[in-house]
Symmetry: C2
Amino acid sequence: MEEAVRNQIREFLASKGLRKTSQRDAIIEAAFSTDRHYTADELLDMARGIESTVSRATVYRTLPILVGSGLLRELDLGQGRKLYDPNFVDHPHHNHLICIDCQQIFEFEDLNMELLENCMARRMGFTPANKQLRIEARCDELRLSGVCRRSGLEALAGAV
Amino acid sequence: MEEAVRNQIREFLASKGLRKTSQRDAIIEAAFSTDRHYTADELLDMARGIESTVSRATVYRTLPILVGSGLLRELDLGQGRKLYDPNFVDHPHHNHLICIDCQQIFEFEDLNMELLENCMARRMGFTPANKQLRIEARCDELRLSGVCRRSGLEALAGAV
DNA sequence: ATTTCTGCAAACGATTTGCACAGGG
DNA sequence: CCCTGTGCAAATCGTTTGCAGAAAT
């Protein structure tokens, strides 16, 4: 976890009068020790690797705090559970493409899209606060060659 | 409900060997009798207005069929429950702006955005199948004048 | 000492499912 | 008749919450 992130979080907690506990520390440390997406439960596992007394409830109570700090992003990609994305600071405007074939999530950024979204919102009389674009798509390579290097998946015969 | 939609659904059910029942009829009739978004539970209420024996289970079992037919769109706007949008046929590429102040959902379309999304997906080696853009935003009018004329109005905006 | 935090377990709410019966073809 | 469709109620699953004790300030 970067020192800058650690400091920002520390400041945020202090500004809200929130206390420093070993459980929160462990959750925070775990939350920013990767650049991959994770679920609340996966974060629980990671945090328990640092501090074994962390409970699921505390993870669920801490996540909204981190999201509120602006350093962690909450994603709902429509899979029945939320994902958390610590990659938010470095890439604040990234979008997500979900492969229908292998379920992998790919991040991408595009300045034009970002501008266009802001433009649309303003035109309607709003100031955008949070945007999420989700594209579900099929892998071309899998369809054309039968194999996808990204996933190692092989296409079923006859699949379109 | 438009006759064209009714016919398309009828054909779809027949092509899948699905039977015609009074409950399904009522659900289908209800599903396409409005152009507003609704939840599964709201659809249950509407369908019961037509055929009182409709159960929640049947609604939940019928919804995926309608979505599969391509005439009804499933939305997950990150509110913990799914929304269904019968407006899909007329406006296949619309996006959603959710007002943080009044929670109203506004639909809008933009050709450039549509093109850009397709372009991004193809550049990454994918063929897009389903796209969903969600913008959460604050109402400028409410912020500036303290009142929003839209609040209390129809949620389906005429924005283009 | 005061107040926030915590773990536990129960509660929650949308959705799914097993079952035995109803009803469409 | 056969087999799909149905209602009911119980099960699921991620997430939230009430409570009493633990810990931070």
